[in-house]
């Protein structure tokens, strides 16, 4: 499963390069628009080690960001699952946070939280949490009648139990979405670094962009992709284990 993900990523990356190089040669674009293969290889060798450590830095923040996001999404999803005034209010609030482009509220975040680790983490989590939230809300607001009936009519239904039942019945969906959201945590962290940090691959990408160095960006994309494939694969394995552990004995 894991190594399949990795070599599939290789195929995709190579396909991407192929498209770029085709465009380059078809339109006869110069090396400064799209770098040549040699240039790319050269850049790759030069920045490889440094970028690897940047990506490691980024992924560690992403992991924390994802944990926070999942937590936030579950809290908000559980609160917002009800069709009550309060539930809908929470939902409107949660949706609004997402609607604002992060760059627009970044100044406000910096004002309120300073420019430390906290702001960065918050930005990463804000980008990542929403898709999980959508799924959590959609799952949490749909009753599983055949199971819930008993608890409801006997007055045993507590919100914890309701959440547990719906989560369990949709375990596959939840694990798919949560492991899929790794991607968003990574993207979120990179954006946060891009805006605010002075470390991580997002920061390196900003510099490369600033220097208009597409070869460096392609290298960064390669490293991000491969790291993510591994992380994603590991999460899927973890999700599989959770399902196995919870669902059967």
């Amino acid at each position: 499963m894991l190594h399949r993900r990795i070599y599939q990523f290789f195929i995709i990356y190579l396909l991407g390069l192929l498209v770029l190089f085709s465009v380059k040669y078809l339109l006869d674009l110069s090396d400064y628009v799209i770098p040549g293969l040699e240039d790319l290889a050269q850049t790759f060798r030069t920045v490889f080690l440094r970028y690897v450590s940047d990506v490691v830095d980024t992924i560690s923040v992403a992991v924390i960001g994802q944990v926070i996001s999942v937590f936030m999404a579950i809290v908000v999803g559980v609160l917002g699952r009800q069709t009550t005034w309060f539930g809908s209010f929470i939902k409107v609030a949660a949706y609004n946070v997402q609607a604002y482009p992060i760059v627009a509220i970044a100044p406000i975040i910096f004002i309120l939280f300073g420019d430390g680790f906290l702001s960065r983490l918050l930005i990463a989590a804000m980008i990542c949490y929403f898709p999980i939230l959508l799924s959590v809300i959609s799952i949490m607001s749909e009753p599983v009648h055949d199971i819930e009936h008993f608890y409801r009519v006997t007055g045993r239904m507590r919100w914890q139990l309701e959440v547990k039942i719906r989560a369990f019945e949709n375990l596959n969906k939840l694990t798919t979405v949560i492991s899929g959201s790794a991607t968003l945590a990574m993207a979120g962290t990179i954006v946060a670094e891009f805006i605010a940090a002075n470390a991580g691959i997002g920061y390196s990408i900003r510099i490369a962009l600033y220097q208009s160095d597409l070869a460096k960006i392609l290298t960064a994309l390669f490293l991000i992709g491969i790291t993510l494939s591994v992380y994603q694969g590991l999460l899927e394995i973890a999700g599989y284990l959770v399902k196995k552990g919870w669902a059967s004995h």
């Binding site: 055949d146 009936h149 008993f150 045993r156 369990f168 004995h249």
Partner: protein
């Protein structure tokens, strides 16, 4: 303690025909009663009207002295995250521990307690679901085909066990088995289609109890009465 329905009229919001037209009946004594009638006649609908699941009917449903009316049906499931034994433990009040073990034994379910719900056969699922309702505090329990997928011998044992353990409680047993209904139930509400009046006719059953013998003749007479009623 009694249950009464007066002139119930009901039609599903998107249905084209009345399910009930001026349906009335009374049930004044506790015991094991039945709802009987052809498939699609409205047994499930009436059950849900009684427990208050629907409220767009006209007429009066009165239940005096009954606070807890429970409705159980055969498609219910237990969560699969722990064994059915653990689930039963969890929903059993401490005072009913012994009752729980009694029920498990009487339902022939001792061996399946360590399994999860999804690992049970259909009839086992039916039984474990019914057990948990019997461990609740109730004055009336409606069993909508709750034992439909259990074999006859076990079913008999279960019904006799329930009657023995809960002599003063109301049960409404929904089943398609005439013999069973005639043999074990006290009053049998026989449903006819909504164009006939009255829509239900009450037939007295044999109300067979543990340790008694049943008169074959009387049983056949009850069955005949039911046949005629419907």
């Amino acid at each position: 303690m009694f249950l009464e329905c007066q002139n119930i009229n009901f039609r599903y919001p998107n249905g084209s025909m009345d399910v009930f037209h001026d349906l009335s009946f009374q049930m004044k004594t506790p015991g094991f009663h039945a709802l009987f009638g052809p498939s699609g006649v409205g047994k499930t609908s009436l059950a849900r009207i009684i427990v208050g699941d629907f409220n767009d009917y006209s007429g009066v449903v009165r239940s005096e002295g009954m606070q807890n009316l429970l409705y159980s049906y055969n498609l219910e499931r237990l969560p699969d995250w722990s064994s059915v034994g653990k689930h039963l433990e969890k929903i059993t009040p401490p005072s009913l521990r012994d009752r729980k073990n009694e029920l498990i034994a009487s339902f022939d379910m001792a061996e399946t307690m360590r399994l999860r719900f999804s690992q049970l056969s259909l009839g086992q699922q039916n039984r474990v679901n019914l057990i948990r309702y019997l461990l609740q505090d109730f004055h009336l329990l409606i069993m909508d085909e709750s034992l439909a997928n259990v074999d006859e011998r076990t079913r008999e044992k279960i019904i006799l066990g329930i009657k023995d353990m809960f002599p003063d409680t109301y049960f409404l047993y929904i089943s398609h088995n005439v013999i069973e209904v005639s043999k074990f139930c006290r009053e049998i509400l026989v449903f006819r289609n909504s164009l006939k009046a009255p829509q239900v006719i009450t037939v007295n059953g044999q109300d067979h109890k543990l340790g008694q013998t049943v008169s074959k003749d009387k049983l056949e007479q009850t069955m005949l009465e039911i046949m005629h009623a419907s």
